[in-house]
Symmetry: C2
Subunit: 301 residues, 2 copies
């Protein structure tokens, strides 16, 4: 899994900083998470092929998380895209995108499929044979979801010496990888665990932005490999965090600690602060493994 931060600043625009957008490469998918203004150019800068994006996840309908989406949808049309595009977003997005299209006198030449979210409980919104995506209901000023991306249990690996010693026909290797016991050439039942290793551990990534400090998310993100949690403010502005339903760096760290995640990435910094290292310092008082998001930075998971 590879995470690329396209933008990790909050709403006020500045030169050389971008509002929220991320790309998650997972099991041959390119998932786009949020799409603030300027995301198209950030995709170009980070050499992400537009045509490989087939699923876009929008957390909420504040502008710094989706104002770049209508431009991206239009660009896909200019690039004569044909593949379906799935958009997972709060109810309302379809209406506003449709209105933009109507005003421009055009529609997409590809299929645009909206999956409008309304539930306040976690739910699975995407699944194939390798990946599952769940919503993480957050606590913000408007209806907001984070997203949990989970690889499925991976196939077991053959212990090829033992498999050959046990005289198992090649035709059964697929079954072995899937975890089944099989009969060998002599009709004897061979236990799966005697001839296979467990597959590599499935990885998981949780994206949580924007949100107040919200312990309800802990069971959902329990023990994820990487958690991106917004940290708009430092502790000195904790009252502002409370009133605007954002988090401080320390609160993000508290969530990470309770959920026993492996790594916490901080982001969505308010532009009022000059030094983002202050976020890390405050968070380190609570939790050890802290990374700072930065536009263009990548994380291997």
């Amino acid at each position: 899994m590879k995470l690329t931060i396209l933008g990790c600043n909050s709403a006020t625009p500045r030169i050389n900083t971008n509002p929220t957008a991320q790309v998650l490469e997972i099991c041959n998918h390119i998932f786009l998470i949020d799409c603030g203004e300027g995301t198209q150019v950030q995709l170009r800068k980070n050499k992400i092929k537009f045509s490989r994006i087939k699923h876009i996840f929008i957390s909420h309908l504040h502008g710094d998380h989706y104002f770049g989406l209508v431009g991206l949808i239009s660009t896909f049309r200019l690039l004569t895209r044909e593949a379906d595009l799935h958009i997972y977003a709060p109810k309302g997005l379809k209406e506003v995108i449709t209105l933009h299209m109507k005003l421009s006198g055009s529609w997409t030449n590809y299929k645009l499929i909206f999956h409008e979210l309304v539930s306040k409980k976690t739910e699975i919104i995407f699944e194939d044979d390798k990946v599952e995506v769940y919503t993480i209901p957050l606590d913000h000023r408007i209806y907001t979801n984070g997203f949990l991306f989970k690889e499925k249990e991976k196939e077991r690996k053959l212990n090829i010496c033992k498999v050959e010693d046990a005289k198992i026909d090649v035709a059964y290797y697929r079954k072995l990888k899937q975890g089944f016991d099989v009969e060998n050439e002599e009709g004897k039942l061979i236990k799966n665990q005697d001839v296979t290793f467990s597959g590599s551990k499935p990885k998981s990534y949780a994206f949580c932005s924007d949100t107040a400090y919200f312990e309800d998310i802990i069971p959902i993100i329990k023990e994820v490999d990487v958690l991106y949690h917004e940290s708009t403010f430092l502790e000195k502005n904790s009252k502002l965090a409370l009133s605007t339903k954002h988090s401080t760096a320390k609160q993000a760290a508290r969530i990470a600690k309770q959920a026993k995640v492996k790594t916490l990435i901080l982001g969505h910094y308010s532009t009022r602060y000059d030094n983002v290292n202050d976020f890390k310092e405050e968070a380190l008082e609570v939790f050890n493994n802290i990374e700072l998001a930065d536009d263009g930075k990548t994380f291997m998971i």
Copy 2:
């Protein structure tokens, strides 16, 4: 008058180029003309004070001319703007901006006044004591207006020696500047033209994008000082210009020549061409005074 090009490329996004947006400084106004995605950052880069923008003119509702507007409107709110904001744009813009605001659960803390345009004939849309702004109906795939910005006739200047010789009371100087004849201290009528010079010639700027070759605009833009006319294509793609209702550089030059403008600025280049100088070369075959728009470039008028 000072024109700053914030963006002059057509729709397909590229690194370091921007879709259409311009700032015209005229008689103490800062007029924003079109507002493609990323205009906020371009305003910052070009050190234009956000608070001084009180009038925004939108040519048409194709994304590369207005997708940056909703973000700018939101930013004005974050910056606790209080001054009214006037937006002159085709009918429909108010509906889509209103819907965005509704979805975000917020509204502006300043007065947002939409002047929705529907007329297919030129009309005056802004006027104060020094400036007039007219629409220039264009020929594009959807309803589109260019804009003509005209300084009003300026006050006459006093020929101070002659005014003193003629024994005119200081109280009458204002009337003289406004072009009236006045009585001197001896009760004799003094002709205005005997004691004043004509004021400096009012300047004018016409913005025409997007449009096919369209001779109907010639009477409206007659003899303007500067004409910005789109030139999306070169002659070798003239068929594409015709079918998409855009212009070639040569067609822009033909309009400039017939309208007897002083200077023609070309822009809205398709990203298919590597060398923008080709636009100038083709236009020079028809018209002499050609400039090429470029992001961040300024023109004194």
